[in-house]
Every structure is written in C-alpha cells, then in structure tokens.
C-alpha cells in the first residue's frame, strides 16, 4: 500500500512540475469551455431580414415587421424590388426576405386567407427551420384570438431552451474525454519515451500496483479539473441548475473517468511516443463523442450506429449528468446509467489493463 501512495504522489508531483501542461489543461477546462459556451450559438439570433412592400405601406405589413425584433432578428431592411432582394439573399447579406403582395392587406381585410411570401436562405438548415417556425407563430398570433385551439407548450428542464446552458457542458465532456485518454496514456508513454520504462520494470513493486497507482493519479487530476470547471464555468458563469444530487454527479464523474482511463491504458500499450498518443486520442475521441448522443439523439441515428452507441461510455455519462443537473432525476432512478457505465468502464479497463500488463 505504501508503494501505491508513493507512486501516486510521485505522479502528482511530476504533473505539478510540468508548468506547460498545467497551464494547457487549465486553459482547456476553464477558458475553452467558456469560449465555446459563450460563442457557439445555433439558435436564430440577429437574423438579417429584408422586405419588399408592394402593398403600399399597409398597416398589416408594418405590424408583421414590427414583430421581427431583437434578439432573434435584425431591423428589417426595405428593398425596392423583388430582384434587389433576391440579389441580397444570393450575396448572403440577407437571410430572410419577405414580399408583401399588392393585395396582401385587401384580402386579409376581406376576411379571407392572404398570403405572405417568404424567401429563405436555407443553407443553415436548422436556423432556417427555426426562423420559419418563428414567422409562422407571428402570423398565427394575428388570427389567434379567433383560432379555437391554443397550444400550451411547456419546455421542461430548460424553460427558454437556452443553449448557453448546454454548450459549455457538452464542451467540458469532450475535453474530459480527450484529456482523459491523453493524460492517462502519457503517464506511461512518458516513461517509454524518456527511457525510464526499464527502471520502472526493475523496481520491486508489483506491476498491478504501478498501473493502478499511475492511472489513479491521473484520474484524480482530471476529477479535480472537472470539479473546478463545474464550479467556476458551469455553475458560476453559465448558471446551470443542479436539480439532483451532487454526490451522484461526483460519483458518476469518477466512474466515467476510470472508464476513459481504461481507453488510455490501451493507447499507452500501443504507442511509443507522446505524438502517437495524441493521434490515437483524437482518433478514438471522435467516435466516442459522436456516438454519445450529445449532438444527434441516439434514437435518431442509423440502427447500426444505435447498437455501436452502447459502447460509448460518454453516452451513459451525458444522459446521467443531464438527468442529475436538469431533469432532477431521483438517485434511485439513476442506477441504469451507473450500471451501464460500470460495465463498460470495467470492460474497457480490463482490456487496457491486460494490454499494458503484457509489457511488464
């Protein structure tokens, strides 16, 4: 047991001494999470609108235009003709173009259906879809006092579907995965690269203790960084809710980090230089992230990908964390995530352990 603590302490000290690495991980866990959370937005915001009003300044067209306001839309810009508006859309100066026909108002006043022509640059598919939806809601609002059905929509767990509460979390998880593999692999590969591997083999310490102590040291570092980022970025800056139990969150993080470290062990076994570790990590990280359901819901994926997704430890972690933070799922209902992650984690750790164990 003393050997375990000594190795653990040695690795922690080594980590603290490599100033560049400490700065780099702090940058990614704190600054990068902030940048991504703050800057990447997919919702329609500041969408540029142009319009041509052939209905000669009718009240209705003005009313519709007045509904297109910040933060979703920029102030609508008038155009002289349909052609001028089209050209602006083709030049990507305008995303949404509205054309009011000459009889736009007349037909509405007559109590019938009138038509609003919308030209939409749909290069950004999701934004155009959401913009179109927004427009539909606006015009529906005009007739709604007489429309007999009202939809009461409740978006649970994130009332305003604020992406600022999701992007930083998604980025943190990607960074945890990437650095989880890199750190836990390089703690072994460093020895190979610097030629101290043989010295390590000569020490009278059981190889199992060496492997476990080295891995645990990196898991602890990552755990500390994750908690730091959770505290400062997620809860501090982006004000994420915590509707479930924090202890469950911490425990889940720890289990997740061990399963990622298992992948790190595998990478450590097959790489000889840190450069190879970096390549392997990026190579493995992408499928883990894409099969996790963070970007595309798993139930929307191709059926084979859905089966593959069972193998991504991140899948269980992200659903679990979302449930704890947003959905406020009670602890007893989280067992599925814990079970999934423990099984996958134990499997990955065993594979990695056996692979690297052969080198001892």
């Amino acid at each position: 047991m003393r050997a375990f603590w000594t190795i653990l302490l040695k690795e922690l000290t080594l980590f603290m001494r490599s100033v560049g690495l400490v700065v780099a991980v702090l940058f990614f866990f704190l600054v990068d999470v902030y940048i991504v959370g703050n800057d990447i937005e997919i919702e329609p915001k500041n969408v540029s609108v142009g319009y041509v009003d052939y209905s000669n300044g009718g009240v209705l067209s003005k009313k519709i235009l007045s509904h297109l306001h910040a933060p979703e839309f920029k102030k609508p810009i008038p155009f002289q003709s349909h052609e001028a508006l089209s050209k602006a859309i083709f030049d990507k100066k305008i995303v949404v173009g509205l054309i009011f026909d000459p009889d736009f108002q007349k037909r509405y006043d007559a109590g019938g259906a009138t038509q609003l022509n919308v030209l939409l640059d749909s290069t950004a598919a999701t934004q155009s879809l959401l913009t179109l939806n927004y427009l539909q809601n606006i015009v529906l609002g005009f007739s709604s006092p007489k429309f007999p059905i009202e939809l009461k929509i409740h978006k649970l767990f994130n009332q305003n579907s604020d992406t600022k509460k999701f992007m930083p979390l998604a980025e943190l998880l990607s960074i945890m995965t990437l650095f989880g593999v890199i750190l836990s692999a390089s703690v072994f590969v460093k020895e190979k690269e610097q030629g101290t591997w043989d010295i390590m083999l000569l020490t009278p310490v059981d190889s199992r203790i060496i492997i476990f102590a080295k891995t645990t040291s990196q898991v602890l570092i990552l755990f500390f960084l994750t908690m730091l980022s959770t505290g400062i970025d997620l809860f501090g800056i982006f004000d994420l809710p915590l509707n479930g139990s924090f202890a469950a969150y911490a425990l889940m993080t720890l289990v997740f980090l061990y399963s990622i470290a298992g992948i790190g062990l595998f990478v450590a076994a097959v790489s000889n230089t840190i450069m190879e570790v970096a390549q392997w990590s990026v190579f493995l990280m992408m499928p883990i992230i894409f099969l996790s359901g963070a970007w595309t819901p798993i139930y929307s994926m191709n059926i084979y990908l859905q089966y593959l997704a069972y193998l991504s430890p991140l899948r269980y972690y992200i659903e679990g964390v979302e449930s704890i933070l947003f959905r406020g799922t009670p602890v007893e209902d989280l067992w599925l995530y814990f079970a999934g992650m423990t099984v996958i984690g134990a499997f990955l750790f065993m594979v990695g352990y056996r692979k690297i164990g052969k080198l001892f």
Binding site: D121, T123, A124, A125, P148, K152, N158, A278, T296
Partner: protein, 370 residues
C-alpha cells in the same frame, strides 16, 4: 535556387512521411472529419419518443393523435396513463414529448369554444427541444385547422420558398463547412510538424549547417503538405457529392482554384506555428487550436456571418475560413460563380492571405542558432 538540392530534400521528406506512417494521417484525418462530423452533427430530430394522452377519446382527438403516427419525426404511443406517470417517464429520459388532449376537446372545438392542448417537451438538450417544439406545433395546427368550422377567419398563410437547400437537409448545410474545416486543420498540422520535428530531434542543425538557402528549405518543406493535401480536395469533393449527396451547382474549376489557394493558406499557418513552437505536441495543439475553433465559428456552418455583430463580425473577416466557405457554399449550393463580384474579391483575398503568410513565415524563419 538549385533545383537539384530542392528535389533531393523533397524526396527525403516524402520518404520520411512514408516511413513514419504519417502519410496515413494525411488522408485519414480529413476523411474522418468529413465522415464523422457529417454523420454526427444532425440537428434534425427523428423518432422523438412521444406519448399522447387522449382524455377526450373522440373522433377528432384520435385523428389528431394519429397525425403523429405516420411521421419519421415521431415514434408515438397513445397511452391511457396519467400526466404524472408520463412526466415521471420523461424524468427518466424515456420520453421526449408528451401531448395531452383535454376532455371534451371535440365538443368545444365544434362549438367554436377555445380549447387547450398541453404539450410538454424535454428541453434538457435545448436545441433538440426547440426543434421538437417546431414539429409539434406544425403537426397540431395543420391537423386542427382541417377541422375548423367553416366560418371565415382571416388567416395569413406563409408561402415559403427555400433557396439553395430546398429539402432543408442538414448534410447540405454542414458538409461544405466541414470541407473548410478539414482542408485547414490537416495541412496546417502537417506543415507545422514537418519543420518542428527537425527542431525537436535536433536535425534542424543539418539545415543550419548546410548550404541550403531559406527559400530552398521552405520550398522543399512546404511542397509535400501542399501537394499531398491537394489530393484531399478531390477526396472531399467526392465524399460530399457521393456519400452525402450534396448538390454541386457551381463551377468545379472555381472550387478547385479556391481550394488550392486555401490549402496554401493552411500551409502558411502551419509554417507560422512551426516558428513559435519547439515540440511536436505543442505544434499539434497550437495548430488545432487556431484552426478548429475559428472554422466552426466563422464558416457560416452554424451561424450566418450576416448574423454576427461587433467583435465577432470583425474576427470572422480576419480568419481565412470565412472567405473560402463563402466560395464553397456558392459552388455547392448557390452557383453564382465568377459573376458575383464578392467571389472575385474573396478569391483575391485568399491569394493575398496565402502569399502573405508564407512571406511572413520565411522572414521569421531563422537559419542560425538563436
């Protein structure tokens, strides 16, 4: 300029790339970026797990519930459970949408009274929540308006014309942006590594001591990444058009020229990275950092440039990504080509950008111990 020396050095680089297996990385990385992100980033939601609780059980309400059955967007179950049970299922992440049709819904509607339909959406993945909200609104309102009593209600109908991406396919929106990402990240990393590798191993002293001039050294070092990655332009084109079925409406020549210029810009970025870093790992991380995030932000893939304001609008114009992806989206989806003055302007900006970076890089490159 001695061509013989350059040729010999270049040959050494190619052999080196082959031996160190880095040559696989040259083609693997861009292909992986395109395929993984192309399949991975889907903002559209299909098969959302939906529960309809029909408390009315009338013809109309059943019809309404069935409207959700025949759609790829919803996997619908009509269940006789209480709203609380449904909510508990949502809390366990088993359900995404709950629709509650209240009792006497049909009766009220036929009388012209207002009735409410309750919709609950899991927004813990916020964007997904929004997209699902749009779908639900569309289906319910469309279906319900078929049943409106024949009285005159002034309605405004939207006659939409979707330009450039009529089917609203996520692939069309994202894949061209991914090409801009792949063709920037991969050449930049390779160019940086080829030079930094020598620094890290100390073999850069061979160059310091050799009679090779700086220009010759740079030509020999930067040509391999440029040539190897030029092949990726074609690979990317085939992946986009054959695997992802993205339409190509512009001129291939324009696409090709712009892409070559862009690869040159990427190589120039790699050169600058190699000057300020000393180890391969640092060079890789730095090259990725200054290429990946701007590519995502400023390619217009996730957010149109016209929607940016202030700082980010200016930043978008500082990075080469915006100019190239404008041309990319034009050649793939729009097809204005050289008739548009913006494209000619952006093409020349890319050319200037590339030469500028390489000139600055060669000025800063040292041929002695510092």
């Amino acid at each position: 300029m001695r061509l013989g020396a350059i040729r010999a050095y270049m040959l050494k680089e190619f052999i080196d790339l082959k031996r160190s297996k880095m040559i696989y990385l040259v083609y693997l990385l861009p292909i992986m970026i395109l395929i993984l992100f192309g399949y991975g980033i889907r903002l559209e939601v299909t098969h959302a797990r939906t529960i309809v609780i029909d408390q009315d059980n009338s013809k109309l309400s059943i019809d309404l519930a069935h409207a959700f059955m025949h759609s790829k967007y919803f996997d619908t179950k009509i269940l006789p459970i209480t709203p609380d049970e449904a909510l508990a299922s949502m809390k366990r992440a088993k359900t995404d949408i709950i629709i509650i049709i209240p009792p006497s819904f049909e009766k009220n509607l036929l009388k012209g009274l207002k009735s409410e339909i309750g919709v609950f959406i899991d927004a813990s993945f916020p964007l997904r929540g929004r997209v699902m909200q749009g779908y639900v609104q569309g289906v319910l309102l469309n279906k319900a308006s078929e049943y409106l009593p024949p009285q005159k209600i002034p309605l405004i109908l939207i006659n939409q014309r979707l330009l450039f991406n009529q089917a609203m396919r996520d692939e069309n929106a994202i894949v061209p942006g991914l090409i801009a990402l792949a063709l920037l990240v991969a050449p930049a990393i390779l160019a940086a590594l080829l030079i930094v590798k020598e620094k890290e191993y100390g073999t850069i002293f061979n160059f310091y001591a050799s009679p090779l001039s700086k220009a010759e050294f740079l030509i020999a070092k930067l040509t391999p990444p440029f040539v190897l990655h030029s092949v990726n332009i074609f690979i990317a084109f085939f992946i986009a058009t054959y695997i992802f079925d993205v339409p190509f409406r512009g001129s291939f020549a324009l696409f090709w020229v712009a892409s070559e210029l862009y690869v040159a810009v990427a190589v120039g970025i790699g050169l600058l990275v190699s000057i300020i870093t000393r180890t391969q790992i640092a060079a890789t991380v730095l090259a990725m950092l200054i290429t990946i995030i701007p590519s995502f932000l400023y390619s217009g893939m996730l957010m149109p440039i016209s929607a940016m304001e202030g700082g980010s609008y200016i930043e978008a114009h500082l990075f080469p990504v915006m100019y190239y992806s404008y041309i990319l989206y034009d050649t793939f989806l729009i097809g204005q080509g050289l008739q548009s003055s913006t494209i000619i302007l952006y093409l020349s900006i890319l050319a200037l950008y590339g030469t500028g970076l390489i000139l600055i890089g060669s000025k800063l490159l040292k041929k002695e111990l510092s």
